[in-house]
Symmetry: C2
Subunit: 218 residues, 2 copies
């Protein structure tokens, strides 16, 4: 019994190694096909789907866009995102707390990547486990809603460190929660110096142009 | 390589079995010592620490209370909770996405349980992984802040099903986010029929008496 945890660590290492191999293949496929793959990670309820719905709706006007969306249960997010007219596939993970590269590869089956400009991948809501799993994405955005508190980057450093851009969401609620922008910027910089920090509200549209700029720039 | 995931499942089963044994021992110790063990689980930023700080401050007036608090990194929560004058110990999990019974057992070392009426255990902010780990607690409260959205019980059913009471937090923000109480009650009931649902605001104190009633009743 005492060996269970070291064995878990060892097996987990092998799973991560396998994941990295698949992710590297995916990344190559994305590059080859000229599709920009963007993943979104955050706590449950930070507003990944709301931001993505608005993003898909705007991008589909001038770009070819698709999305994969991960959840433990329900097809609700895919149904919601399909209102944007973009093709969307739900990945239902069951009890698995994150997406992995194999799930992404399998979910892409039958899609012609050459016909896409952008592929969005919305991870399961979890600020811990997704950090270890490379999905072959070119840009990883970590979302943090103003209502979660400014301390989250310090308490969940790995996921902030694994991301390329931090998006502070629900900024329309910032006054109601007395959100401290200086503190959050300081905490993000402590974990990942130099990372770009954006503020958006999917509700009011505030900051949305900066987010779109970030997507087209990278 | 192909066997990595089945092996992970098998090893994880053995880890969970080991956890259940330790949790059963803990539960026996808690019962024998007459201490009521209460755990709190939720997403990051749902307000576990804010609720716990207020709870400790009130309970310490008439009861002997202590707390363990789990985080990937920082001692911040323990420092904050110690303002209540209750003894508090931080469990820093590193990259581990949940507390387990062994961590709780180790953190209790040197504490005389017989001298406590209540022991609170605040889990790592994660709406997925903590659901599988029994900590020997008598009451598990799952928190959900109004800003996270009413759909979360359907999307994270396992953790709601593993809990004994659902506490909707930050109800002071309910009007700002047009929170739909009927929907959240319906979604919780779909996952865990009959589970008690409370609404609280650690900021304004709204609903706090119901929460205290729940703690003293069980």
């Amino acid at each position: 019994m005492k060996t269970a945890v070291p064995r878990l660590v060892e097996v987990r290492r092998s799973v991560l190694k396998q994941n990295d191999l698949i992710a590297a293949m995916l990344r190559e496929r994305f590059h080859g096909a000229g599709v920009r793959a963007v993943s979104l990670v955050s706590s449950p309820g930070s507003g990944k789907t709301a931001l993505l719905e608005k993003t898909l709706t705007v991008l589909t006007k001038n770009h070819r866009v698709a999305a994969l969306v991960g959840d433990l249960a329900t097809e609700n997010d895919a149904t919601r995102l399909r209102r944007s007219q973009a093709p969307v596939r739900q990945i239902v993970t069951g009890t698995v707390c994150h997406l992995d590269a194999g799930m992404v590869r399998d979910a892409l089956e039958g899609w012609k990547l050459e016909e896409l400009d952008y592929l969005f991948i919305e991870n399961v809501g979890n600020l811990v486990c997704p950090s270890s799993y490379d999905l072959g994405e070119e840009l990883r955005a970590v979302l943090l809603s103003v209502t979660e508190g400014e301390d989250k980057p310090l308490k969940y450093p790995t996921i902030f460190d694994s991301a390329d851009v931090a998006v502070v969401t629900k900024v329309d609620l910032a006054p109601a929660v007395e959100f401290d922008w200086d503190a959050v910027r300081r905490n993000i910089a402590a974990v990942r110096p130099g990372m770009e920090v954006l503020g958006v509200s999917a509700k009011t549209g505030e900051g949305f142009d900066d987010w779109m700029g970030c997507l087209t720039r990278f």
